[in-house]
C-alpha cells in the first residue's frame, strides 16, 4: 500500500496540471450537464430540459503564467518584473487555452436502465503555445557572443475552432456493476484558424542568424462570415447550413467496484471537422535562410543621397520578407481535429452525503497532452443543495481549488461551478479560471437514483 501511495505521489509530482471541469465531473449526480464530460452519467430526474442560452454556459481560460509569475516582491513591498520566473513558467508550458460553451438546448430522458440525451451547443476551443525559448529571447535577446540563442519554432502552436454541435447520447447499465455510455456528435464548423506544419528553429549569434523552417500553412475558415456577422449575419451559415461538417464521439464507462466505490472514465471529443466553405489558406514555403552580415563592399557602395536606389540593408530585409510571403489560396479543404480529452476518476461515498474522489484529466492539443489530477469532496445538504470542493495538483502543490453549488428549487435547478476558486480570491496567482453556470428544468425522479 505504501508503494502504491508512493507511485501515486510520484505521478502527482510528475504532472503539471490545468483543471478543467473537474467540479462538473464530481457533481455529476446533481447536474445533468455532467453528461457532457462523461456520457455515462445520468441525471436523477426523469426528464431534463435546458433552454437556450441559460441551461449551461461555460468558459475556461488558462495561461502559462500568473500575475505572481511575472513579479517578485521586493523588501520595500514593490513588485519587480521577474524575467526568470516568467521564462521558467513558459519553459514548463507555454500554452494558452480558452474554451467556451453556450448551451443552446438540452433534453434528457431517463429510462429504467438508461438515459437518452439530445444537446445543442455552440463551442469555442482555442489553444496557443508560446515556447519558453521565444519568451527568453524576448527578455534576454540573443545572448552574449559565446551563447547562440535558439528559438524552437516547432513548439509554437495555434488552433482555434468555433463550431456548433448536435449531440445524441445514450447510456445504459449493462449489469449491476457496469454502465456504459456514448454520444455521437454532428459538428458544424463556424470558423477556425489552424497552423499546420510549423517546424523549425531560429538560431542567432554574433556570427550568424539561421532560420530553418519546413513548409507550413495557416488554414482559416469563416472569415467572410465573421466580417459580415454584424449587422447582417448569415444565419444560414451559422445554423447548420454550411459545408464545414464533421463528426465526433464521446464514450464513457462506470464500474461499481463496491457499493460505496465507483470508478469511471470517459474519452471526449474524438473527431474532426472538415472545412470546405469560406476557407482560405496561407501557404508558406520552406525557409532556409542564413545571414552572416551585410556585404561590406556593397554597404560602402550605397548612396544615401540617391532616393532612387535601395540600400543593401533594405535589400536584405526585402529578401528576408519575401521568404515569408504566403501564397493565398481560397477554397482549400482541410481538417481540424477536436481537442480530445479524457477523464478518469473514482469516488467513495460515506454516510450517503459525503463523497470523496480522485479525478485525472487530460487534454490533447495538437498532439500535446496536458494532464491534471484533483482530489474532490462532495456533500449533499438535503434534497436542495449539493456542494462540491476539489483541489487540483499543480506545480508540485495543491493550489487550484474548485467549488460547485447546485440548488434544486422544485423543478428548477440552478448551479454554478468554479474550478479554480482561488483565482477569484487570489487572482494574482491564477493561471487558470473556469466557470460554468446554468439553469435546468428537471421533472420526476428516476428509480434508484
Amino acid at each position: 500500500m505504501k508503494k502504491q501511495l508512493l507511485i501515486l505521489f510520484m505521478t502527482l509530482i510528475a504532472i503539471t496540471a490545468y483543471t478543467q471541469q473537474i467540479t462538473l465531473y464530481q457533481m455529476y449526480s446533481s447536474i445533468p450537464q455532467s453528461n457532457q464530460i462523461n456520457p455515462v452519467f445520468m441525471p436523477r430526474s426523469k426528464i431534463t430540459i435546458g433552454l437556450p442560452l441559460i441551461s449551461s454556459d461555460y468558459v475556461s481560460v488558462s495561461t502559462p503564467a500568473s500575475f505572481d509569475d511575472f513579479f517578485t516582491r521586493s523588501a520595500d513591498d514593490s513588485l519587480r518584473i521577474d524575467e526568470q520566473k516568467i521564462i521558467d513558467a513558459f519553459n514548463k508550458s507555454g500554452k494558452f487555452d480558452f474554451e467556451g460553451n453556450i448551451g443552446l438546448l438540452f433534453l434528457g430522458l431517463r429510462t429504467k436502465t438508461g438515459f437518452f440525451s439530445l444537446s445543442l451547443n455552440s463551442r469555442l476551443d482555442a489553444g496557443f503555445t508560446l515556447p519558453g525559448s521565444l519568451v527568453e529571447f524576448a527578455f534576454r535577446g540573443s545572448g552574449d557572443t559565446g551563447t547562440p540563442a535558439s528559438i524552437r519554432i516547432s513548439e509554437i502552436n495555434l488552433q482555434t475552432v468555433w463550431f456548433n454541435e448536435i449531440a445524441v447520447g445514450y447510456s445504459r447499465e449493462l449489469n449491476s456493476k457496469i454502465t456504459v455510455g456514448g454520444k455521437l456528435k454532428y459538428l458544424q464548423g463556424i470558423g477556425t484558424i489552424s497552423v499546420e506544419g510549423l517546424n523549425g528553429y531560429i538560431e542567432s549569434s554574433i556570427d550568424s542568424i539561421h532560420i530553418s523552417m519546413d513548409p507550413w500553412s495557416v488554414h482559416t475558415a469563416g472569415q467572410e462570415f465573421l466580417k459580415s456577422a454584424f449587422p447582417s449575419a448569415n444565419t444560414d451559415y451559422f445554423l447548420f447550413q454550411n459545408g464545414n461538417k464533421g463528426w465526433g464521439i464521446d464514450v464513457g464507462v462506470e464500474y461499481k467496484f463496491m457499493d460505496n466505490l465507483l470508478l469511471s472514465a470517459s474519452i471526449l471529443d474524438v473527431g474532426k471537422i472538415t472545412w470546405k466553405e469560406d476557407t482560405k489558406s496561407y501557404l508558406f514555403d520552406e525557409v532556409k535562410y542564413t545571414f552572416e552580415g551585410f556585404d561590406l563592399l556593397e554597404l560602402l557602395e550605397d548612396d544615401e543621397n540617391d532616393p532612387n536606389s535601395q540600400s543593401t540593408i533594405e535589400d536584405e530585409i526585402d529578401s528576408l520578407g519575401s521568404l515569408f510571403e504566403p501564397e493565398e489560396v481560397e477554397g482549400t479543404i482541410f481538417s481540424t481535429p477536436l481537442s480530445g480529452k479524457f477523464y478518469a476518476g473514482g469516488r467513495y461515498t460515506l454516510l450517503t452525503i459525503h463523497t470523496f474522489g480522485v479525478i485525472i484529466y487530460g487534454k490533447i492539443f495538437k498532439s500535446q497532452l496536458t494532464p491534471s489530477v484533483a482530489l474532490t469532496y462532495n456533500i449533499e445538504l438535503g434534497k436542495i443543495l449539493n456542494v462540491g470542493l476539489n483541489a487540483t495538483f499543480r506545480n508540485k502543490t495543491f493550489n487550484n481549488f474548485g467549488v460547485g453549488l447546485s440548488a434544486k428549487l422544485g423543478p428548477v435547478q440552478v448551479y454554478g461551478l468554479v474550478d479554480n476558486f482561488q483565482s477569484i480570491l487570489l487572482p494574482e496567482g491564477a493561471r487558470v479560471i473556469s466557470a460554468r453556470v446554468g439553469l435546468n428544468f428537471m421533472f420526476g425522479k428516476a428509480k434508484g437514483s
Binding site: L79, T145, D207, G293, F294, L300, L385
Partner: protein, 540 residues
C-alpha cells in the same frame, strides 16, 4: 435549521472573498516598480571577402587597375590626349596674287595681210612666299580657289588659252580657253573665272629645278579682220591663289615650335595618407607620343612637379633632356609612329617623387617640329598630328612603415545611446595581404577636444601575412579582436560631434621587407556586434 442556514452563509463568504481578492490584486498593480529591460542582442553586421581590385573598383577613385603577368597590381593614372594638334595648326598655304599684261608688238602687226590668224604665247611664273621659309616641292590640294581675271581690248575676234603648268588634275595639266567675238565695241573680253582647286596637285619645282614656283602659260589667237592691232591693245591678267588648303605638302618643312602644354594629374590614391615611410620600388611614367608628320619632332619636359599639401618636388635626371621621337618615312605616309618615353628610377628621381605621397603632378611639355631643319625630304599631311598620352604606373611592390591616414566624420549617436549599456564589436579577419592595419576611432567634441578612444589596447585589426624573399605572401594571418564600449564609455561618447578615424599601415616586417600586392590576395572580414540594452519601462 442547520442545513437551511448553510447556503446563504457560503454565498456571502464567497462573495466577500471575491471582492477582497480582486481588490487586493488591483491594489498591487500600483506597486509595480520600474523595470529595466536588458535584452542582449548579438548579431552579425557585415562580412566580405575581397581582393585589392574589388576594393578599388568600389571606391570613387581616378585610379585604374592593371596587372602584370604575375598578377602584380599596378595602379595607373592616365591623361590621354594630353596634347593633340594637327598640321593645319602649323602650316598654311598663303594667298598669292599675280598680274600680267599681254600684247602684240608693232612689227608683227605691220606685216599683217588683210585677213589672217595670228597667235602668240608667253610664259609666266610667280613665287609662293611661305611664312617659315618652307621649301615646298609639291602640294596635293584639298581645297582652294584660283581666281582668273581677264580684260582684253583687241579689235578682232579671237581666244585666249591658259595652260597652268603647275596644276595637274589626274595627271593632266589644267588649261582653259576663253573665246570672244569682236563687234566694234570694247572690251572684247572682260571675264572673271574661278577654278576649284580641290584635289588638284600643285607642282612647284618647275620641272625639278626649284621650289615654291607656280608656272603658267598664256596663248592668244587673233582672227585679223582689217582693224589695226596696236601695242596698246592688250590682255590684262590677274591670277589669284585663294584659301588653299592641303592634303599633303612635300618638301623641306622648316623648324616650328609647338606651344608649351601644361596639365595637372590628380593622384587621389594618396589622399589622406601622411607621415610614415612609403616607397614603391618601380614606379614609372610613360609618355606615349604619336607622330604622323613626315619629319622628326622633339619633346622637352620643361617642368614636372609633384606636390602634396605640404611640399613639392621636381623631376630630375637625364629624362629631362629633349627627346627626339620617331616619324613616318615616305613609305609610311598616313601612319602614326609612336614613341614611348619612360620615366623611371633608371633615368630620374621618380621613386622619390612618389614617396612623398603626391596628390597631384603638374607638368609642362614643349615640342619642336623638325628641330634645326634636320630633315630635308619630308612631308606633312593635313591630318598629320602630334598627340601625347601620359600614364603613371605604380606597381604595388615596395615598403610601408607607419603610414598614417585619418579622416573626420560627423557623428551623432542620437538618443538611442541612452538605452544602451554595453556594445561589443567582434571583428574577425583572415588577411592574405602583406599589410597590417591599426585603427583607432577618436571621439571629439565640438571644439575638437578628445573625449574618448574606442579601442583601449590592441588596435591592430589586421595582421600582415607572411612573405618570402621575393615579397610574395606565403601564409595569411587570422585575427579576432573585440572592441568594447561599456556604459561609462558610451556616456562619454554621447556628447561627441565628430569622430576621427586614424589608420596606421605597415607592410610585413613593419616596412623592412619589400612586398608585392598581387591580385590573388584576399582579405576575409566578418563583423558582429553584441548590444546590451537598458530600457526603462513603466514604474510607479
Amino acid at each position: 435549521m442547520g442545513k437551511a442556514s448553510f447556503s446563504p452563509a457560503i454565498f456571502f463568504i464567497v462573495i466577500a472573498s471575491v471582492f477582497y481578492g480582486c481588490n487586493g490584486a488591483f491594489s498591487d498593480l500600483n506597486k509595480i516598480g520600474q523595470y529595466t529591460w536588458n535584452p542582449s542582442l548579438a548579431f552579425p553586421i557585415a562580412k566580405a571577402t575581397f581582393g585589392f581590385e574589388d576594393f578599388i573598383n568600389r571606391n570613387d577613385t581616378l585610379a585604374l587597375i592593371e596587372k602584370d603577368e604575375e598578377g602584380l597590381i599596378i595602379l595607373t593614372y592616365e591623361n590621354n590626349d594630353l596634347f593633340s594638334q594637327n598640321a593645319a595648326s602649323y602650316l598654311e598655304l598663303p594667298d598669292e596674287t599675280h598680274t600680267e599684261s599681254f600684247n602684240f608688238n608693232s612689227p608683227l602687226l605691220i606685216q599683217l595681210p588683210i585677213a589672217f590668224q595670228i597667235s602668240k604665247t608667253e610664259f609666266f611664273n610667280f613665287k609662293i612666299e611661305t611664312e617659315e621659309g618652307d621649301e615646298i616641292d609639291s602640294v596635293l590640294l584639298q581645297s582652294g580657289e584660283l581666281e582668273l581675271k581677264m580684260l582684253a581690248n583687241f579689235p578682232a575676234s579671237g581666244e585666249v588659252k591658259f595652260r597652268f603648268l603647275s596644276l595637274f588634275l589626274n595627271g593632266e595639266q589644267v588649261e582653259f580657253t576663253y573665246p570672244w567675238q569682236y563687234s566694234g565695241t570694247q572690251p572684247v573680253l572682260d571675264q572673271t573665272d574661278i577654278l576649284d582647286l580641290s584635289n588638284l596637285k600643285m607642282d612647284l619645282t618647275d620641272g625639278g629645278t626649284t621650289v615654291n614656283t607656280f608656272n603658267f602659260e598664256v596663248e592668244i589667237t587673233l582672227n585679223y579682220e582689217g582693224q589695226p592691232v596696236l601695242p596698246s591693245n592688250s590682255l590684262e591678267i590677274e591670277v589669284k591663289l585663294l584659301n588653299a588648303t592641303f592634303k599633303a605638302i612635300y618638301g623641306k618643312i622648316s623648324e616650328r615650335k609647338i606651344d608649351p602644354v601644361s596639365d595637372t594629374l590628380k593622384l587621389d590614391f594618396f589622399d589622406n595618407l601622411s607621415n610614415g615611410f612609403f616607397y614603391l620600388d618601380e614606379p614609372a611614367i610613360s609618355i606615349n607620343i604619336g607622330n604622323s608628320f613626315g619629319l622628326p619632332v622633339s619633346v622637352n619636359i620643361l617642368s614636372f612637379e609633384a606636390s602634396n599639401e605640404t611640399s613639392t618636388l621636381n623631376l630630375t635626371g637625364d629624362i629631362t633632356q629633349p627627346q627626339l621621337i620617331n616619324f613616318p618615312a615616305l613609305g609610311q605616309l598616313g601612319d602614326t609612329i609612336r614613341t614611348v618615353i619612360t620615366i623611371d628610377h633608371t633615368n630620374s628621381n621618380l621613386p622619390e617623387l612618389i614617396s612623398m605621397l603626391p596628390t597631384q603632378i603638374i607638368y609642362v611639355f614643349e615640342g619642336t617640329i623638325n628641330p634645326q631643319g634636320i630633315a630635308d625630304n619630308s612631308f606633312v599631311l593635313n591630318e598629320s598630328i602630334v598627340d601625347v598620352d601620359l600614364k603613371i604606373e605604380l606597381p604595388l611592390k615596395g615598403r610601408l612603415s607607419d603610414l598614417e591616414a585619418s579622416n573626420l566624420f560627423e557623428f551623432d549617436v542620437g538618443e538611442i545611446a541612452e538605452d544602451i549599456d554595453f556594445v561589443l564589436f567582434q571583428i574577425y579577419t583572415n588577411n592574405g595581404f602583406p599589410l597590417s592595419l591599426d585603427i583607432q576611432v577618436i571621439f571629439l567634441d565640438e571644439i575638437g577636444t578628445e573625449l574618448e578612444r574606442l579601442i583601449d589596447e590592441d588596435n591592430r585589426i589586421l595582421e600582415a601575412a607572411e612573405v618570402n624573399a621575393e615579397g610574395n605572401v606565403t601564409l595569411s594571418k587570422e585575427k579576432t579582436i573585440q572592441v568594447i564600449a561599456d556604459d561609462d564609455k558610451l556616456q562619454r561618447i554621447q556628447s561627441a560631434s565628430t569622430i576621427r578615424i586614424e589608420v596606421v599601415i605597415n607592410t610585413t616586417g613593419d616596412g623592412t621587407t619589400s612586398v608585392k600586392i598581387l591580385d590573388s590576395y584576399q582579405l576575409e572580414i566578418k563583423i558582429g556586434a553584441q548590444i546590451d540594452f537598458g530600457l526603462n519601462v513603466g514604474g510607479s
